[in-house]
Symmetry: C2
Subunit: 258 residues, 2 copies
């Protein structure tokens, strides 16, 4: 029952979600979790009764530069204690174990975590031990279950890999990165006039070399060549290079500046 939802207005602003590892077994996975979190801009890690105690030296190499996440990690004696100050909790599981709960994908969870934070609600995501996952009682403390879509024949993710996917989706949900752009190094994208100028130079050279067998074939071949050349999305620098190449191959002076 989420009666608390109506009662709490949360903080004015909320920090990014915390990651809570319940009874993690391997120090390496705790370290790899810290690295994955920091890659995605998360640094709030909480550990509930890690099997091999804490701190664990095996976590350090796997953290690979994200030791500050390990150093700041909170240590808790119970899941309830690790959740106490949070308003919203998501629990990761591959099976819902008969609980009546909403189940979301990492992508939907990310959108909700962003919305929670914008409302001033503090959120956390629970991950269970490597071998068994979260126990039913811990799952039941969550508002929402989080299940990662996976190959049904091989659905068990490594702990740090599961954390990465949740953290990655959280980061992506607010990423301003354009899905695609053209890197042009120190040059810039050529204008259509610059491409046209190159194409004219090219055509002129081919005509002078008697490249085209017949006027009919000339038209068709030029159309195909133009299509290939436009598809290159060349830079201004590349257009100049190709002018130079044509001049060199024909043994004639360099083309006038485009």
């Amino acid at each position: 029952m989420s009666a608390e939802a109506a009662g709490s207005t949360g903080d004015a602003t909320a920090p990014p979600p915390v990651v809570i590892l319940v009874c993690p077994q391997l120090g390496e996975n705790i370290g790899a979790t810290a690295r994955a979190m920091l890659n995605c801009g998360l640094d709030g890690l909480r550990l509930v009764r890690p099997r091999d105690g804490w701190p664990n030296p095996r976590a350090i190499p796997a953290a690979s530069g994200a030791e500050r996440v390990l150093d700041a990690a909170g240590l808790y004696g119970s899941t309830a204690a690790a959740l106490a100050d949070l308003h919203r909790v998501y629990a990761t599981t591959a099976r819902n174990r008969g609980l009546v709960k909403p189940i979301v994908t990492p992508r939907e969870a990310a959108a909700r975590l962003r919305a929670d934070a914008a409302q001033g609600l503090r959120s956390g995501v629970l991950f269970g031990p490597e071998r068994t996952g979260l126990e039913t009682d811990d799952l039941n403390r969550a508002d929402t279950l989080l299940s990662i879509p996976a190959n049904p024949d091989y659905a068990s993710f490594n702990l740090a890999q599961a954390v990465l996917l949740v953290a990655y989706e959280w980061f992506q949900a607010d990423s301003r990165t354009p899905p695609c752009h053209l890197a042009t190094g120190s040059s810039r994208v050529a204008t259509k006039a610059e491409v046209e100028h190159l194409f004219e130079h090219f055509t002129e050279a081919l005509d002078q070399a008697h490249f085209f067998p017949t006027p009919d074939q000339r038209g068709a071949m030029l159309r195909n060549l133009r299509s290939a050349i436009e598809r290159m999305h060349m830079t201004e620098q590349e257009a100049r290079t190709f002018h130079g190449i044509i001049a060199a191959l024909t043994g004639r002076p360099k083309a006038r500046k485009g």
Copy 2:
């Protein structure tokens, strides 16, 4: 120049993209890569000059059940050889190193990989060695660069983690998993009539217990209670349980079936 694009129609159908690790250093990362791939339904792994030779016993524990991906992995002496039969290649990098290339996010790459396969084009994704990433010459063999958006202050992903993100996006791009649904165990979602029937039972019990101080307050309080009860999204089983609870608390016979 992608002149090959126009010339090749590819196969009638194409397999999922292959993952190509160029000079991977750690067997553990090769194993973890296999696990991440199989989690996301990929099983085509190619290794170019792995530092510690191949097979590598350190890969097995990290593969954690995905050994079949390791067993079927192809071993190559050069990046060119590992790419030779592919039509489209994406190369992962954190830096574009001045190359003039389209750069895409993993999500956009996934959409393109799906589109490539639908056209019958065989695709692969290149990943470089742990310490240095791909060399410029290997990046330049790709059609497209793939860059994972990350925390600008800590952007270096573990090799297997980077593979996971690409494989995960590829899997998600065709996932039929609904972003959110309510798990209801062995029950089903209650109808509005069933919730109404419970609410009436509840109201009746509260009236008989003289719970409401005044008729005005009764109206407002019932409105708030209904709001909380509707928000629970209860199952038919839960509605019956609450009927039983009301009957038990009031010491009166169980409510008639809802």
